[in-house]
């Protein structure tokens, strides 16, 4: 039986057809992958199924019955739940409070807290979603927050769960746990629609995959009879190369030098403890590590967003330790930030304005105090073309772009500034395989132009593929340096977990 069927769905936005006669049929009890390039229309299609958007054309059937999904409440009543990529939780509230919000169990007009907590505990045990019902959202990890989102849908009786890029924000360990949870859910008879750009994940747990490209359905296939290569070319419409072609690096002078740096996190705890690091011109240094071992704080300290507690940071031999972010950027540091929506973009600004977020007051974008919008938009137009950012035009608000295209816009801006040191934190998070290939090539290109690149990534694949040297961070220090040619995932994993490795490449 079909749990969900969407027929001939069309959805237009100003200047773009996001969904063009899309078909999707999902069997009861399966994990169905939705695969497509950035901006292909996956989130749009799911927002339609969840009642956030109304389709311009097309029909929807739930358990073979035609339905009109007028809003999220209607969707919930039909047993559809959605876990959004950007969470919608109330930070100061507890897990239980967040879960029951809007569907509170009451007794004599008051919220029945005990019953609520019991119910939440029951559901979480049933599906192996271990969370503390009394913890506050702001105190728990991203992975836990995601579980709360899942619990929220289950609490409302969801039979069909939509996951929009749930793994993009998770560490590899958390991804493993999520996969287990998904398997539990299916075992209990739930149906899952799963959006991801990671083909490995699809091969691992999905039954069927539907591919869409530029708003149109390309086809559906059973996962058993396909391969990553085939899926990639189906999605992009051409052969995709998974390996990065790069020459031997020819490192030059030291661009970034970090000396016994100590940085405190927001709670005042030392997150970086006496760390030393060197990145030279013409090389890519990969920064590996389990999330939360001080990587974010290190990058924030280098870019001036966080104060260094002790130690020095030198750029081309000059101290930048106590400079403001602007001064650091102007001395030649580019930064692709970890959190694109929080740091990287002003969502209510046009793409054009976002492309000059640091340089708006310089020629040619300004003349004296006055902005020169024609120049700003011309600049944006060029970047949009160069980096294949899919947007109706350069005046569209960043908010209207698909997640992956927002990311591409940031990368375009930072790479185009042509900095001596490019800091890339999770640069390909949320990008499709075609776009990843493209971004990887641009990073190597920067390196070959003699720029220094510091790449932070939670994906070991990416680190291994791109880096010339790998620094593994553990507990606020560099636990060891590895040579990507001779090391492997196991060895990195060991260092990441705090272990020791015999062969190490000397720093420098």
């Amino acid at each position: 039986m079909n749990a969900v069927e969407m027929r001939g769905i069309t959805k237009r936005f100003p200047g773009i057809v996001a969904n063009d006669q899309v078909h999707l049929s999902v069997n009861q009890g399966e994990i169905h992958a939705l695969l497509g390039e950035n901006g292909a229309g996956k989130s749009t299609l799911m927002n339609i199924l969840f009642g956030l958007y109304q389709p311009d054309e097309g029909e929807i059937f739930i358990r073979e019955k035609p339905v009109k999904i007028t809003g999220p409440t209607k969707a919930a009543a039909l047993g559809i739940g959605m876990v959004h990529q950007h969470f919608m939780l109330v930070e100061p509230f507890t897990v239980t409070e967040n879960i029951i919000l809007g569907a509170e169990p009451t007794s004599r007009g008051c919220i029945d807290r005990h019953r609520a907590e019991r119910e939440v505990r029951e559901i979480s045990e049933k599906y192996g979603l271990r969370v503390d019902p009394t913890a506050r959202i702001r105190d728990i990890s991203v992975g836990m927050q995601q579980r709360v989102e899942i619990l929220k849908t289950l609490y409302r009786g969801a039979e069909v769960l939509i996951f929009d890029e749930p793994t993009a924000v998770l560490s590899p360990q958390e991804i493993d746990e999520l996969m287990e949870i998904m398997e539990n859910l299916v075992r209990e008879g739930k149906t899952i629609i799963f959006i991801t750009h990671k083909l490995k994940e699809i091969m691992r747990i999905c039954d069927t995959v539907t591919v869409i490209r530029r708003g149109k359905t390309i086809g559906s296939t059973s996962v058993k009879g396909t391969s990553e290569q085939e899926l990639a070319s189906m999605m992009v419409g051409r052969e995709v190369s998974f390996s990065v072609n790069k020459q031997e690096s020819r490192p030059g002078k030291t661009v970034l030098k970090v000396q016994s740096l100590t940085v405190k996190d927001s709670r005042g705890v030392e997150a970086v403890r006496g760390l030393d690091l060197e990145v030279r011109a013409g090389e890519i240094v990969g920064l590996a590590g389990v999330d939360g071992n001080g990587q974010s704080e290190l990058l924030e300290a280098i870019t001036g967003l966080r104060k260094a507690h002790a130690g020095d940071i030198l750029l081309n031999g000059e101290a930048i330790t106590r400079l403001q972010p602007r001064a650091i950027a102007r001395r030649g540091v580019g930064h692709i930030p970890e959190d694109r929506q929080k740091r990287g973009l002003v969502l209510d600004f046009s793409i054009g304005e976002n492309m000059v977020l640091q340089t708006y007051d310089q020629t040619p974008f300004a003349k004296g105090f006055l902005l020169r919008y024609p120049e700003i938009f011309r600049h944006a137009k060029r970047l949009i073309e160069d980096f294949d950012v899919r947007t109706p035009d350069e005046q569209t608000h960043a908010r209207a772009l698909s997640g992956g295209n927002q990311q591409k816009a940031i990368i375009a801006r930072e790479v185009d500034r042509d900095p001596d040191l490019l800091i890339a934190a999770q640069p390909t998070r949320g990008l499709d395989v075609g776009a990843i290939e493209f971004i990887h090539r641009r990073l190597v290109e920067q390196r070959d132009k003699g720029k220094a690149v510091l790449l932070m990534s939670l994906e070991l694949d990416e680190i291994l593929k791109l880096s010339d040297r790998i620094a593994v961070m553990y507990g606020g220090r560099i636990a060891g340096w590895l040579n990507p040619k001779t090391t492997n995932e196991e060895e990195i994993g060991l260092l990441m977990a705090g272990g020791k490795v015999g062969e190490e490449v000397a720093q420098g």
């Binding site: 989130s43 740091r343 600004f349 977020l357 902005l371 997640g403």
Partner: protein, 355 residues
């Protein structure tokens, strides 16, 4: 022109327009229920607000401070701040203008210019305090600006009674040289109290447009308002930005105070409570979607309703309170964004953050 559309997008225009119509409909309903003839009342209202030169002049005089307080609130909104203290900043503006107008002796044009400038600076400084508290200590501006309103009110009253008069309830008239009245202008409008403040208000509206959407500084102010984290990342000085926004907003409020004092009343008196023009600015900004042109139009509408509503009492015997209800209803409709949901139902689309 596409750029202009962005500042004031189509849906904002529609929201405002529909809300005004709905608000007036609610007023009409009330009048019917109370046994008045709404057509007659509204007819009298508009007729008495614009058709006679004298009324037109008085309406413009009513509109003038509304534009300025609307701009004050709107600019703050656009930069992520909620300035409830416009009322107090305006009082301080009036106070400064009165001091310069009473205590200084300067040649005519210079004197009024000095008084206006003093009011602007005073308003800005009054807003500086909550701005500083917000930027440095993170104290929410709503709380501090409300408290500053009360301090302003009492400070003004105390000074009127002590330094600016001999224990009287009001000061003397300011010197003629400091006045914003211009005889020729008054004569054109049949000796109404219209004054040059309208020019100040129009210039201020244009100034806000240029500042926010044409200058690099405005780019910063807007960016910080929308997303302080990204602005910090981009190297902008978030604290300075918050402080400047607050002060520019206070400056507009101070100018409103100058217009009231140097143009309309000519003297300062003890206030029993808040006049409310500063609070009306919130309504004006909301209806005008925080854009200069929108604020101008909204101020015109509210000015017409206020002044015409006063006359409506006499012409159609409808109490003025009905007009306040219309105000409130309009604002409720804008705030609830009712028209948007009507439209989304009709066209089947809704704006949602990207997921």
């Amino acid at each position: 022109m596409k750029h202009l559309e962005q500042i004031h997008n189509q849906s904002a225009w529609l929201t405002s327009l529909i809300s005004v119509l709905l608000g007036m409909l609610v007023g009409a309903g009330m009048m019917l229920a109370a046994g008045y003839d709404p057509l007659l009342a509204y007819g009298a209202l508009f007729q008495n607000a614009i058709f006679q030169p004298y009324d037109l002049g008085e309406t413009i005089r009513t509109i003038t401070p509304l534009i300025l307080t609307g701009l004050a609130v709107g600019l703050a909104f656009r930069t992520g701040l909620f300035n409830i203290g416009v009322e107090g900043q305006m009082i301080i503006g009036s106070l400064a203008a009165a001091i310069v107008g009473l205590k200084f002796s300067l040649p005519p044009v210079l004197h009024s210019a000095a008084a206006v400038a003093a009011a602007a600076v005073a308003g800005a400084l009054w807003a500086f305090i909550p701005g500083l508290l917000k930027a440095v200590r993170g104290v929410h501006e709503v709380i501090t600006t409300i408290m500053m309103n009360f301090i302003a009110l009492n400070l003004s009253n105390w000074l009127v009674r002590t330094w600016l008069s001999n224990g009287a309830d009001s000061t003397d008239k300011i010197k003629e040289s400091a006045s914003l009245r211009w005889d020729l202008l008054s004569q054109w409008f049949d000796n109404s109290r219209i004054h040059l403040g309208i020019m100040i208000a129009l210039l201020a509206a244009y100034g806000m447009y240029v500042l926010l959407w044409k200058t690099t500084y405005g780019f910063e102010l807007r960016a910080v308002g929308y997303n302080p984290h990204a602005s910090e990342y981009a190297g902008m000085n978030v604290k300075r930005s918050i402080l400047s926004s607050m002060m520019i907003s206070g400056m507009f409020a101070g100018l409103a105070g100058a217009c009231q004092l140097l143009g309309t009343s000519g003297y300062l008196s003890i206030r029993g409570g808040f006049e409310g023009i500063g609070f009306d600015g919130i309504a004006v900004a909301l209806l005008g979607a925080n854009a200069p042109i929108g604020i101008l139009l909204a101020a015109v509408l509210f000015g017409v309703l206020t002044y015409g509503g006063g006359n409506m009492q006499f012409a159609a015997d409808v109490p003025f309170e009905v007009i306040r209800v219309v105000f409130a209803a309009i604002i409720l409709f804008v705030a609830a964004n009712l028209s948007q949901s009507i439209f989304s139902r009709a066209r089947g689309m809704r704006r949602e953050p990207h997921a």
